[in-house]
C-alpha cells in the first residue's frame, strides 16, 4: 500500500464478540467459585467465544498484512501497541514481585517483633519470623477465612527442577535469537529449525513446571501455605501462563514462517513475539533468583 495514504479499517464485529466472550467467561468463573452449577459450563462457553474471537480477529489482521494493505505507519502503530502492552504486563508482574519483597523484608519480620516490637513472638504459639514462617505455625492454625494453613514438610530445591528449567528457558532464548538472526538473513529453513527448537524447549519447561508443582503439592506446599505459598504459586503460575501464551504465539509464527509471510525487512509479528518471549524469560530469571535463591 502507498506510503502516503492512511490505512483505516472497516467496521468490525470482533470486539463486541470478544466483550461478550470475556464477560461470559468471568461471570461463569464467579458463579463457579460460588458453587453455582452452570458456572463451569459458562466458563467453557466464554472461553470458546474468546478464542474464536482471537483467531478471527488476528486472522483478519494477518490476511490484510499478507495482502499488502498495510504500510510502514501501520507497522509502527502495531509496534507501539505491542510494546506498551508488554510494558503493562511488566507492571502487573511488578505488583506481585512487590508483594514478595514487602512480605519478605517488612511484614514477616514485623510479625516477628522487628522495629517497634508491637508484635511479640508470644502472639503466635511457636511463631518464628523467617521467610517461610508458615512452617512454624502450630498445626491446625487457620487463616481468617477459615481455611486451614497447609504446612509444607519441605520446599522446592533450587538446584533440582528449577535449575533445569532455568537452563531450558535460557537455551530457548539462545535458539530464538538464532532464529531471529536467520530470519534477518532470509534463511527460512534455519528459522524454522530454531523456532521448532525454541517451542520444544518451552513445552519441556511447562512439563517440568507441572512436575515441580506435583512434588511441591505432595510435600504440602500449597496456595494455602501462607504468604510463601501464595507468592510462590501466584508468581510461578502467572509466569507459566505467559509461557503458555508465548508457546502458542511462537507456534503461530512458525506456521506463518512456513507460509513465507515474513521477509528480512518485514517481520514485525516475529519481533513482537520474540521480545515477548525474552521478557517472559527474564521474569523467570527474576523468579529463580528471588523465589528460590536470595
Amino acid at each position: 500500500m502507498n506510503e502516503k495514504e492512511y490505512y483505516i479499517p472497516d467496521g468490525t464485529y470482533w470486539p463486541i464478540i470478544g466483550s461478550i466472550g470475556i464477560s461470559i467467561l468471568l461471570i461463569g468463573f464467579a458463579n463457579q467459585m460460588h458453587g453455582v452449577s452452570w458456572g463451569s459450563s459458562a466458563m467453557v462457553l466464554g472461553f470458546a467465544i474468546t478464542v474464536f474471537m482471537l483467531f478471527g480477529w488476528l486472522g483478519q489482521v494477518v490476511n490484510e498484512s499478507v495482502n499488502g494493505q498495510y504500510n510502514q505507519q501501520v507497522d509502527r502503530s502495531f509496534r507501539w501497541g505491542m510494546s506498551w502492552f508488554i510494558f503493562s504486563e511488566v507492571m502487573f508482574f511488578a505488583a506481585f514481585f512487590g508483594a514478595l519483597f514487602y512480605a519478605r523484608m517488612l511484614s514477616v519480620p514485623w510479625l516477628g517483633g522487628a522495629d517497634n516490637n508491637i508484635f511479640t513472638p508470644d502472639l503466635w504459639n511457636g511463631f518464628s519470623a523467617t521467610w517461610q514462617q508458615v512452617a512454624f505455625t502450630t498445626p491446625g492454625t487457620t487463616l481468617q477465612s477459615g481455611t486451614a494453613i497447609s504446612i509444607p514438610t519441605k520446599l522446592v530445591e533450587a538446584t533440582g527442577l528449577p535449575a533445569l528449567n532455568t537452563i531450558l528457558l535460557l537455551l530457548s532464548g539462545v535458539t530464538l535469537t538464532l532464529a531471529h538472526h536467520a530470519l534477518r538473513s532470509d534463511n527460512r529453513n534455519q528459522v524454522i529449525g530454531w523456532l521448532v527448537a525454541t517451542i520444544t524447549l518451552g513445552v519441556a519447561f511447562l512439563g517440568f513446571q507441572v512436575m515441580e508443582y506435583g512434588h511441591a503439592y505432595a510435600d504440602g506446599l500449597k496456595l494455602t501455605s501462607g504468604i510463601y505459598g501464595s507468592t510462590f504459586y501466584m508468581l510461578t503460575g502467572f509466569h507459566g501462563f505467559h509461557v503458555t501464551l508465548g508457546v502458542i504465539m511462537l507456534t503461530v509464527i512458525l506456521f506463518r514462517v512456513q507460509k513465507g509471510h515474513f521477509s528480512a525487512n518485514n517481520h514485525f509479528a516475529f519481533e513482537g513475539v520474540a521480545w515477548y518471549w525474552h521478557f517472559v524469560d527474564v521474569v523467570w530469571l527474576g523468579l529463580f533468583v528471588f523465589v528460590y535463591w536470595v
Binding site: 468471568l26 505507519q73 477465612s145 494455602t224
Partner: protein, 535 residues
C-alpha cells in the same frame, strides 16, 4: 482538503447506516461519542446514588436506609464516578479531539479503539448488577481495603473484582491507542513542542494509566485469590499484611487521581487562551510541569496512609514529597492567571467554567496541601475534610473541565450552537450549588465528622442540612444541562467553523461539523504553526 487522497478503498467515506454502525464502528468520532454518552449515563446513575447519600444525611439519625445500604451507596457512588464517569469521559474527549488536534485521519489502532469502548458497558453492567445480588453490592468504600473486602465482604465482591479487571483492560487499551496516535499518526510536520496541551496532557496521562492500572489488576487479583483460593497476601495469620493492600492500592490510587486531572489541565489550557485572546503563557513550562506532576505522582502514595502506621522516616519522606507536587501545580495555576493578565477577556460559557475551574481547583489543591502535612492529617484523616478536598479537585476540577470542554467543542461536534443564555443560567446554578454542597463539608471535617457514616451527632446538623440542600440543587442542575445539550443537537443554530473568535488549533480549520475522517492529507507546516498555542 479537496485534494485528499482517499484513505483506502473508495467506499469508505461516511458512517454506515443503522444501529449496527455503533457496534461495528472504527471511527474515532463515533467511538468518542459513545464514550461520552456512556460517561454521561454513568454520571447520572452515580449522581442518583449521591442523592440517596445526601438524603440520608439531611438530618441526624437514621432516616431512610439501614447503614449497610448506606455503605453500598458510598462505595458504588465512588466507583461509578471514578471508573464509569470521569475516566471514560476523558477517553471520549481524547478520542474526539486528539486525531483532529494532531492532524490525523483517525486513531492509530481503530479496531482496538472499538474494543476499549465496548468492554465498558459490560463491565459497568456487571458492577451495577451487584446491587441485586444476595448480600448486596460491595460496601467497603471505593478504596476496598482488606480485610473489609476479603474476609468480611459479600459474594458480589467477586463480580466487582472482575468488573475492575475489565475496566482496567479497557483503560490500558485506550492509553496504548492514544500513545500510538500521538507518536505515530501526528502530522509529519508537527514537532512535539507544537502539540496542543490537551494532546500533551493526554499523552502523559496514558503513561500513568499503563503504569498504574496493571498494579490495580494485581491488587484485585490478590484479593480474588485471598477470598477464594486460600492465599494469605493480606492476612497476617499467614504472614501477609492488610497494610500491604493499602500500599499496592495507593501505588495505583495516587497516579489515578492525576489520571483524572491532567487531561483537565489540558482542556483549561485551551479555553483560557481562546477567551483571553492571548497565546498560552509559558507553554513549555506547562509541558514540563505536567511531566513532573506525573513523575511525582508515583512516589507520594503513602500520604493516604499517614495513620495506617509507617516508620517515622516514611511519614517524613511522603510528607515532603507530597508538598513537592504543589510546585508544578502552582506553575500551572500561575500560567493560567498570567494568560488572562491584560487579555481582552470575554466570558462565554466555556470560559466561565474554565475560570471557575482555576479558582475552585486551587481551593482543592490547598486543602490537599493541608492534608499532606502528616501531623495535621492525624486530625483531618477520614473526616469530611477529605471528602471536601477530593470533591473540590474532582467535581469542580475534573468534572468542571469536562463540562467546559463540552460547551467549547460542542459546535465542532454537532455543527450547531447551544443556547448561550440558558447555558449561563446553568453555569451559575451549578457553581453556586456546588459550593453550597461542598464548602460546608470543610467545616464538618475540621469539627471532626467522620466520613462514610450514615448518622452523626447533633452539632453537625446545620452544616449537613445546608450541604444536602446544595446537593439536591446541584443534582437538579444536570436536568438543565441535559436539556441544553439535546436542544443544541436538535435545534441549535448552525455554527461557523471557528465559533470562538480567539480559538487556535487544527480542529477549527475543519468543517463546522467536523467531517467523518479528520485529516486525509496532513496539514502543512504553515498551518500547524499558525494554529499552534505559541501564536
Amino acid at each position: 482538503m479537496t485534494t485528499a487522497t482517499a484513505s483506502h478503498d473508495e467506499h469508505h467515506h461516511g458512517p454506515e447506516k443503522g444501529l449496527m454502525r455503533w457496534v461495528k464502528t472504527t471511527n474515532h468520532k463515533d467511538i468518542g461519542t459513545l464514550y461520552l454518552w456512556f460517561a454521561f449515563a454513568m454520571l447520572l446513575i452515580g449522581g442518583a446514588l449521591a442523592m440517596g447519600i445526601r438524603m440520608e444525611l439531611l438530618q441526624p439519625g437514621l432516616q431512610l436506609m439501614d447503614p449497610h445500604f448506606f455503605n453500598q451507596l458510598t462505595t458504588m457512588h465512588g466507583l461509578i464516578m471514578v471508573f464509569g464517569a470521569i475516566m471514560p469521559a476523558f477517553v471520549g474527549l481524547g478520542n474526539w479531539l486528539i486525531p483532529m488536534m494532531v492532524g490525523a485521519p483517525d486513531m492509530a489502532l481503530p479496531r482496538m479503539n472499538n474494543w476499549s469502548f465496548w468492554i465498558l458497558p459490560f463491565a459497568g453492567g456487571i458492577l451495577l448488577s451487584t446491587f441485586f445480588m444476595e448480600g448486596g453490592a460491595p460496601a467497603f468504600g471505593w478504596t476496598f481495603y482488606a480485610p473489609l473486602s476479603t474476609t468480611f465482604a459479600p459474594d458480589s465482591t467477586d463480580f466487582f473484582i472482575f468488573a475492575v479487571h475489565l475496566l482496567g483492560f479497557s483503560s490500558i487499551m485506550g492509553a496504548i491507542n492514544i500513545i500510538a496516535t500521538v507518536l505515530n499518526m501526528r502530522a509529519p510536520k508537527m514537532k512535539l513542542m507544537d502539540m496542543p496541551l490537551f494532546v500533551w496532557t493526554w499523552l502523559i496521562t496514558s503513561f500513568l494509566l499503563i503504569g498504574a492500572m496493571p498494579v490495580l489488576a494485581g491488587a484485585v487479583t490478590m484479593m480474588l485469590t485471598d477470598r477464594n483460593f486460600g492465599t494469605a497476601f493480606f492476612d497476617a495469620t499467614g504472614g501477609g499484611d492488610p497494610v500491604m493492600f493499602q500500599h499496592i492500592f495507593w501505588f495505583f490510587g495516587h497516579p489515578e487521581v492525576y489520571i483524572m486531572i491532567l487531561p483537565a489541565f489540558g482542556v483549561v489550557s485551551h479555553i483560557i487562551p481562546t477567551f483571553a485572546r492571548k497565546p498560552l503563557f509559558g507553554y513549555s513550562s506547562m509541558v514540563y510541569a505536567t511531566a513532573s506532576i506525573a513523575f511525582l505522582s508515583y512516589i507520594v502514595w503513602a500520604h493516604h496512609m499517614f495513620l495506617t502506621g509507617m516508620p517515622v522516616a516514611g511519614e517524613l519522606y511522603f510528607m515532603y514529597a507530597t508538598m513537592l507536587i504543589a510546585v508544578p501545580t502552582g506553575v500551572k495555576v500561575f500560567n493560567w492567571i498570567s494568560t488572562m493578565w491584560r487579555g481582552s477577556m470575554t466570558f462565554e460559557t466555556p470560559m466561565l467554567w474554565a475560570v471557575s475551574f482555576v479558582f475552585l481547583f486551587t481551593i482543592g489543591g490547598f486543602s490537599g496541601l493541608m492534608l499532606g502535612i502528616a501531623p495535621a492529617d492525624i486530625q483531618y484523616h477520614d473526616t469530611y475534610f477529605v471528602v471536601a478536598h477530593f470533591h473540590y479537585v474532582l467535581v469542580t476540577g475534573a468534572l468542571w473541565s469536562i463540562i467546559a470542554a463540552t460547551f467549547y467543542w460542542l459546535p465542532k461536534w454537532t455543527g450547531k450552537m447551544y443556547n448561550e443564555g440558558l447555558a449561563k443560567v446553568h453555569f451559575w446554578w451549578a457553581v453556586i450549588s456546588v459550593n453550597v454542597l461542598f464548602f460546608p463539608q470543610h467545616f464538618l471535617g475540621l469539627a471532626g465528622m467522620p466520613r462514610r457514616i450514615p448518622d452523626y451527632s447533633l452539632q453537625f446538623a446545620d452544616f449537613n442540612m445546608i450541604s444536602s440542600i446544595g446537593g439536591f440543587a446541584f443534582g437538579a442542575s444536570f436536568i438543565l444541562f441535559t436539556y441544553i445539550v439535546i436542544d443544541c443537537i436538535r435545534n441549535g443554530k448552525p455554527a461557523t467553523a471557528r465559533p470562538w473568535e480567539g480559538a487556535k488549533g487544527l480542529e477549527w480549520t475543519l468543517a463546522p461539523k467536523a467531517q467523518y475522517h479528520s485529516f486525509n492529507t496532513p496539514p502543512s507546516r504553515e498551518l500547524i504553526k499558525s494554529e499552534s498555542q505559541h501564536s
